[in-house]
């Protein structure tokens, strides 16, 4: 025989704006919002690839698209949020991986930041030289 509780189970109400109550949660939501510019910029890259498939398409279609003021503004917002995403990711990855790799989290975090700098410099050198 099972006994049934006569009390109503307490379920804490969660509203869609639950995260507004604490700055820690607000920062979490700000970071998660970087998923939107990630998708946006993937679509920009897809359009760039499409333009590359035709002769002169990159210069005649993709660059004018990138010069559109709305696209410039969206890309600037994306750059800011993707930088936030990158550095918080390096922070978290260091903390998460230090257990399985047996390295201090600071070492992993520093290595990822160095890798970020290398990728940035190599990409800039490749497009400029």
């Amino acid at each position: 025989m099972t006994t049934e509780s006569k009390r109503n189970k307490y379920v804490r109400e969660v509203t869609p704006t639950w995260w507004k109550s604490w700055s820690f949660y607000k920062f979490y939501m700000l970071r998660e919002s970087s998923a939107i510019p990630t998708v946006w910029f993937c679509l920009v890259l897809l359009y760039g690839v499409f333009c590359l498939t035709t002769a002169n398409g990159f210069v005649e279609k993709f660059i004018p698209f990138l010069q559109n003021p709305v696209v410039v503004i969206l890309n600037l917002i994306s750059l800011a949020l993707l930088l936030l995403h990158a550095f918080t990711l390096f922070q978290m990855t260091g903390e998460v991986m230090s257990g399985s790799l047996g390295l201090k989290s600071e070492v992993i975090q520093k290595a990822l930041k160095v890798l970020f700098a290398i990728v940035t410099v190599v990409a800039l050198v490749l497009v400029c030289i």
């Binding site: 869609p16 910029f41 600037l76 990728v119």
Partner: protein, 114 residues
Amino acid sequence: MVDQNPKRSNEPPVWLMFSAGGMVSGLAFPVLILILGILLPFGIISPDNIIAFSHHWFGKLVILALTIFPMWAGLHRLHHGMHDIKVHVPNGGLIFYGLAAVYSFIVLFAVIAI
């Protein structure tokens, strides 16, 4: 009795794409947005090297990695983010990962066509 045919979770492959995409976008998207979003449209750099790079087989592999993985990460995070703001999209997993898969195929064929 051990269930010999348990329901398989889609989490391992999806998480692989999500974590790869997170790292790829973390390491490369800031500089890519700087190049394509600011330097190129304002005429600070020439498009020649980018066009030449896209015609090389190694460049094509890099473009595939840079476009496909981050989209899986972005849509995975949107899928879970929707629950955070209490929007429960019906068949969310199918829709978000389906979109990522469709996008991946389009990118693959477009990159081959360059």
